[in-house]
Symmetry: C2
Subunit: 400 residues, 2 copies
């Protein structure tokens, strides 16, 4: 219904070239073969996007990418979203299949009934079929519906199979990560500039949301998979509270856990702002965290493990008289809500993942203590020789 | 670690009074009894918040509210998020239980193992236990883990049990919905004012994000459960694409599907902007939609059904020579990502839900045609006598 002749009938530009998608598919197929899978059903929107380029906020209805043993993957979802798939994926239109709208949020029907029909039609309702058992977008009911209708198939847990293939980033992906890094650095600079006692928190968050979308260095900002976490004072004893309209106060700390995002690639980073003069205990905590961060980064060499990095970090932190019960980071990259992590490796004692050049992690040494919180975190990339911080955001407490 | 004496040690203010939470729990228990449930496990963050006040971006890890047959509900989640629960829920601290961090995103452990332990400890690992089988946050693996460890219990599908209790809003909830409505109306006014040919889309979206957070009439804005959907031209043939940095163009339509949000209560509304002179076919589509909206609203009387409303809408639309394959709306209210709908009733032919005063719906008569999209939608509340629009946003195509 546009009056101008459209020059965009082929859809939006793919973020990566076809060779890169081909390489991703080949890596996925190798892992499928190692796991003895005939077919893989991918429900995680991040994995769907990584394999096909698909990008749309449609994951609130059931959808999947079907990866058969050979041939192109198939995008499957709600009929109205097949239109979005045609605008965004690299495959031909016959690899895009929509299901009818009466399956949507209707207690009498389940979309997985339609998927079973499609699998049968394409000769894929056989053998060992991988499913992402612990993904947000593969519900208990989805599994029950598939399992009840796919007679003679083996549904096998393939949670993480694609996620692990995403761990080492390509040069093109690293370029996206660096754009996202510039965005989050700009956002933290803006916060340090405008935050002040008396400023209602939502007014500050409005500027954060705006800055994240404006982007940086001529690169636009995409939406984050986690909204800004911005608690002050006692609320900052908890990690995942968002915001309200209470004013910021002198003598109080606020942490800002935010991400810059470029075309779904996330660079999260946290900084903590103290309005006024921080008490000594706060400075002690800062010192301990900075030493422990240095130790962790020094240990993050290719060939060593996430567990080695965690040991270096936790040993140093504990030697300074502080402790932390939770993991100190995770893999980052392409993501959709509700999580900007990749749900693979963790910076946690005993994690056996061997660090490799091209891996990107959010080194997240946050302390949530009984009377306040301190988050000073570093997104890093593993290089041939060690770890490099993705941003130049000044490390340390921001005091104003 | 704050230096000032905090006056907020009791946590953030509950959005509703204790009597309202008591009434919600009583309604839930009545439905549990009707379904023969001894205990209910609530995984949907919207249902968790509605029952307890809990508000945090922690739903990317497994968590739940346990509703036993009597006594207070129990918040259960990651240990670090138990801190956030202590800041936000109405129950005492002994009704808040955290699990250890090694269960988080660790292939060797699953948090549901810890939940089984808690249920046993509290004498609840028995009888019929309701679970939300098709919720995003109740994965196939979560169900498998519970089912494999709760010997002698019956896990029963209780999908929607709490969602349906939320359908009729209290006066306090309606006040929140009206605040959200003012916010979305303000956002649409801003878009109409600043959009113009040549403006890069992300610059406009940055202002939308900011306006949504600033709020309206002195009420702050919360984050939406769906990010702004803002496609132009051929991209608007698809419903759920977000944005990039391409400039808006003369002769092209863009729809803006956005929501105002006040304390998690959503008022979504879409408007379509045409830059230049709309072609006749576009005006015809607009006229058909407006007539069909009038017919739908006229049919939305208490005592009639969602299906009646759908019949009035679709019959009128089709009489005008247009058709629409998808549902024309859904129930709205308290929500968390990835969906701002309540996943209960739909405005769809045959939907038997009887409309009642206090229900709120997004009447969503969008058309996605082969050459463009048209979204002119109305959030409504059912009153004693009919349906009332929640906003005064001018209805119709915005032409500029």
């Amino acid at each position: 219904m546009t009056s101008s002749a459209s020059d965009d009938s082929a859809g939006t530009a793919l973020p990566f070239d076809r060779a890169e998608y081909g390489a991703r598919l080949a890596r996925t197929r190798a892992a499928m073969e190692a796991a003895g899978l005939d077919t893989l059903l991918v429900s995680d929107p991040s994995n769907m996007a990584w394999l096909t380029g698909y990008d749309g906020w449609s994951f609130y209805t059931h959808q999947a990418v079907i990866v058969p043993g050979d041939g192109d993957p198939v995008w499957w979802g709600r009929a109205m979203d097949a239109r979005g798939a045609r605008r965004t994926v690299w495959m031909d239109d016959d690899a895009i299949v929509g299901y009818e709208d009466h399956y949507v949020q209707n207690p009498d029907h389940h979309p997985m009934e339609a998927l079973c029909g499609l699998l049968a039609e394409r000769g894929l309702a056989r053998g060992r079929i991988g499913v992402e058992m612990d993904n947000y977008y593969y519900s208990a009911k989805a599994h029950q519906t598939l399992a009840g209708r796919l007679d003679g198939c083996d549904l096998v847990d393939a949670e993480g199979l694609v996620n692990w293939r995403r761990a080492v980033k390509s040069p093109a992906e690293l370029a996206f990560m660096r754009r996202a890094a510039r965005i989050v650095q700009t956002m933290h600079g803006m916060i340090a500039e405008i935050a002040e006692p008396g400023l209602a928190k939502h007014l500050l968050v409005a500027e954060i949301m705006k800055a994240g979308t404006l982007g940086a260095d001529g690169h636009w900002g995409d939406y984050p998979a986690i909204m800004p976490l911005t608690p002050s004072g006692m609320d900052a004893t908890a990690p995942h509270l968002t915001w309200d309209d209470r004013p910021m106060r002198a003598g109080e700390a606020t942490f800002f856990e935010i991400a810059g995002v470029y075309r779904r690639y996330h660079c999260p980073q946290s900084r903590t702002l103290f309005l006024g003069t921080p008490p000594q205990r706060y400075r002690d905590a800062e010192r301990a965290v900075l030493l422990a961060v240095d130790a962790g980064i020094a240990a993050a060499e290719p060939g060593r493990t996430c567990g080695d990095m965690a040991d270096a970090f936790f040993d140093t932190l504990e030697a300074q008289g502080f402790s932390k019960e939770s993991r100190a980071g995770y893999s980052i990259g392409l993501s959709y809500p509700p999580d900007w992590g990749e749900r693979t490796m963790s910076i946690r004692r005993g994690d056996p993942t061997v660090l490799q050049p091209g891996m990107t992690l959010h080194f997240m040494p946050a302390l949530w203590l009984d009377d306040g919180g301190l988050e000073i975190t570093e997104p890093i990339v593993i290089t041939e020789t060690g770890a490099q911080c993705l941003t130049q955001t000044p490390r340390g407490l921001v005091v104003k």
